[in-house]
């Protein structure tokens, strides 16, 4: 896949029109994980728009986005930054050996209180 194709693919998977963004920054004003995002929610939208996906694919932020939908809910232009983050994360985990969490890492972290829901959702988000 060429880089251009990859950019188009990410745009398509995200299902969101990044050109609608008016760069107000409300998403980043609301993001509860802001401090743990090395690339900020509004940057995901603008950088995808500019085609700067290499940095996005390498970002730590894709593992820290909570998918809480706060940015989607507040966006005044109907853009969904969380869907862009997810499209980038999907693209990463679909690559060979790029899973966010390895199976062997899990047993040591699991305590007896951890609900199945946490394991399932984290696995869904981080792995393919």
């Amino acid at each position: 896949m060429t880089k251009e194709e990859r950019i188009e693919n990410i745009k398509r998977i995200s299902g969101t029109d990044v050109r609608k963004c008016m760069k107000c920054g409300k998403c980043s004003g609301r993001c509860p994980a802001f401090k743990d995002m090395d690339i900020k929610p509004h940057q995901f939208v603008t950088m995808l728009g500019k085609g700067e996906i290499d940095k996005l694919l390498e970002s730590k932020a894709i593992w820290n986005c909570l998918s809480c939908m706060a940015c989607v809910e507040r966006c005044p232009r109907g853009v969904a930054p969380a869907a862009v983050v997810e499209a980038i994360r999907d693209t990463v985990v679909r690559m060979q050996g790029k899973n966010g969490i390895k199976a062997e890492e899990i047993p040591p972290i699991v305590d007896e209180l951890i609900p199945q829901q946490l394991l399932v959702s984290a696995y869904r988000k981080y792995n393919k």
């Binding site: 008016m22 004003g29 609301r30 993001c31 507040r74 966006c75 005044p76 109907g78």
Partner: protein, 663 residues
């Protein structure tokens, strides 16, 4: 046999860039009936019109087709041209090859082919045109202004100064509108009341102006020059002619817990009240929802104390009917409801306020006598955060898609005034863009930053919440790429504005076009910006689009100029494109009269000759051409095909259809 001339306009490159105008003119030459076909760079110019006039005379043309811009733009121009050359102005048809062709197509062949069809269609129509004579109708020399804010006041004063009678219909108990609520006005910071109230007094004292306050337009009939308007005068339970405005009733009224709407609900007022000290008319009004006497029948205290005997609990709504030549709509705006913006905590926190509420808090005549005290505890706020674009430029469905235009400037004004009056106050402004075009406007905003040290933060607020008695304003700072939280004492929301909701009813009554944001549509965005497409109806102020006071006043004066121009005429030419019955075919069934929205159709008994010297009297439809608006509803309803519409006859439209479909 018709002799048709065709004139294809280049419109500079607007048409010529995508339509091969020479080819169009050349191809059309061979159309049956066409005796002359020419193209020219600007047909609407002096030279272009001269060309048309000359061709009409030289070639003895009986009808012309101009292939140019939209007929909504220059049909009137070319009709005048034809008339000047001695051709009946209704023997002109326009083929719209700009808006409907060159501007929307890129391919030259395709656009040229379409232009040819459009011109052929116009030729097909013009061949069936008949010379029409416009009738005349008298002009009632009186204007109606709907809305008594600064737009209505200015329009009324200008019209009245030219010597015409004007009525202002205002739905509230006083004129003054939103401007009366403001504290200072940008960019010069004069006090709003100081510049508005003298104009209000001028209105009241002007012998040509009649203020109908606490009244609403109920019904509109007629047309330009001859509107007949029914106005509801709402019962105020106080005799306007007797009340002296002494306010003793307000002192004595036991029901004092009504929300003071003039102060944006920030304090209370009695059931009987005068909205504010400088109200015009300075006459009390009773809120029937709040008045103990009107609700329970017991009380009557105000009546006892009123020395003028002005209180009348039995008062009912009354109606007046008046005739007007022209109508100015100036219904104004309101800030939007903030139900969809709970992230800013407006509903839960008293100290999150709208900008209009801040105006009242800063106003010397407001609930705090002009001392800035926050609503929750009456203390001086030390940190104030402004949030811009609350509900503006929002296409998510929660707010309004447009820019409200005035917020950048009034927020700069608020920030500056606060820093001026209370230098120990910290002021922050979250903004997306600062939009301050206009004379001395950007300078004004820069003064807030440079001279008054207002902290402008490029970013948007995501959440406002209360923590330990402080308002925490969490937002982004895009310049620093940070998320920040500002501990504030007061948060001010620059709330989007929308047209006053009553505009919908007014628009329906006037059959004035309205857009999806409830703004009234102007006739032409650039060249006819104060006229509604409905003849005789003019638009002033925010009802037509967001604007500030200087723009509103300009538009109001422009409306006045248009109205004066109209009222100065004694007679108006009427639209000759009206319905006409073929009496021989009419069987008097009344269906056309039933669908006519204007009551233009009546029935007359007429004598018809039958063969053999016999006659019969039949009931047939008759159209009053002064009342008919030419919509054509009757022509389709008529079961016998009696009714036709001049200028848009069935035969003409049929031939247009044929011309389009011909391959």
């Amino acid at each position: 046999m018709q002799r048709i001339g065709v004139f294809i306009c280049w419109c500079g490159s607007n048409i010529a860039a995508t339509v091969d105008v020479k080819k169009v003119a050349e191809t059309i030459k061979s159309e049956p009936g066409v005796v002359y076909s020419e193209n020219y760079q600007y047909m609407c110019s002096e030279n272009g019109q001269q060309l048309i006039k000359q061709a009409i005379k030289e070639h003895n043309l009986t009808g012309i087709v101009v292939g140019s811009c939209s007929p909504r733009m220059h049909e009137a121009t070319f009709r005048k041209t034809a008339e000047a050359a001695g051709l009946n102005p209704y023997m002109v048809e326009i083929a719209n090859i700009r808006e409907h062709c060159s501007w929307i197509h890129k391919d030259m062949d395709e656009a040229t082919e379409k232009a040819i069809v459009l011109v052929r269609t116009a030729i097909a129509k013009v061949k069936l045109n008949a010379p029409l004579q416009a009738g005349e109708s008298p002009v009632v020399k009186r204007a109606l202004v709907i809305g008594g804010g600064i737009a209505g006041i200015q329009a009324a004063l200008d019209i009245a100064d030219a010597g015409f009678e004007v009525d202002i219909v205002e739905k509230n108990a006083t004129i003054g509108g939103r401007m009366a609520q403001l504290d200072k006005t940008f960019p010069t910071l004069d006090c709003s009341a100081c510049i508005l109230t003298p104009k209000m007094v001028d209105c009241a004292q002007h012998e040509k102006i009649d203020i109908l306050s606490y009244s609403e337009v109920e019904e509109v009939k007629g047309f330009v020059g001859n509107f007949n308007v029914k106005i509801r005068r709402k019962a105020r339970y106080v005799d306007e002619t007797k009340c002296t405005g002494c306010k003793i009733c307000m002192e004595k009224c036991p029901s004092k817990k009504g929300l003071n709407t003039f102060n944006m609900g920030l304090n209370n007022r009695p059931a009987i009240h005068i909205p504010f000290a400088q109200a015009i008319p300075n006459v009390a009004v009773i809120d029937p929802e709040q008045c103990i006497k009107l609700k329970t029948g017991k009380c009557g205290i105000c009546q006892k104390f009123c020395g003028a005997g002005a209180i009348d609990y039995e008062q009912k709504d009354t109606f007046v009917e008046r005739e007007y030549g022209a109508i100015v709509v100036a219904t104004g705006f309101k800030p939007i409801a903030l139900d969809n913006f709970n992230e800013y905590g407006y509903a839960e926190n008293k100290d999150v306020i709208t900008s209009l509420e801040l105006e009242r808090l800063m106003n010397a005549a407001g609930p705090t006598d002009g001392v800035l005290l926050r609503p929750s505890d009456g203390k001086h706020p030390k940190v104030i955060t402004f949030i811009q674009c609350v509900g503006s430029r929002d296409t998510s469905g929660c707010g309004k898609p447009y820019c409200s235009k005035i917020c950048c400037m009034y927020t700069a004004k608020h920030a500056m005034l606060i820093r001026e009056k209370y230098p120990d106050t910290e002021v922050h402004v979250f903004y997306i863009d600062v939009r301050t075009p206009g004379k001395n406007y950007d300078e004004f905003y820069r003064r807030a930053v440079e001279q008054y040290g207002v902290d402008y933060i490029k970013g948007m607020v995501g959440k406002v919440y209360n923590e330990n008695g402080k308002l925490m304003v969490q937002g982004s700072n895009l310049i620093d790429n940070e998320q920040i939280t500002i501990e504030s004492d007061l948060v001010v929301l620059a709330t989007a504005i929308e047209p006053e909701p009553s505009i919908r009813k007014v628009a329906t009554l006037l059959t004035a076009s309205i857009d999806t944001n409830n703004f009234l549509t102007e006739s032409h965005a650039k060249l006819r910006p104060v006229e509604s497409p409905t003849a005789g109806v003019y638009l002033a102020g925010v009802c037509q689009g967001p604007k500030d006071i200087p723009e509103t006043v300009s538009q109001a004066s422009a409306c006045a100029a248009k109205v004066i121009g109209l009222l100065a005429k004694d007679k108006l030419k009427t639209n000759p494109c009206v319905a006409v019955p073929d009496e021989m075919m009419c069987n008097g069934c009344s269906q056309c009269a039933n669908v006519c929205a204007y009551g233009a159709i009546t029935y007359v008994d007429k004598e018809f000759r039958l063969g053999g010297g016999k006659t019969e009297i039949r009931r047939v439809a008759s159209v009053n051409p002064a009342v008919c608006q030419g919509c054509g509803a009757c022509t389709v309803t008529c079961p016998s095909g009696t009714m036709d519409l001049k200028g848009f006859s069935s035969k003409q439209i049929m031939s247009e259809v044929e011309a389009i479909c011909k391959k």
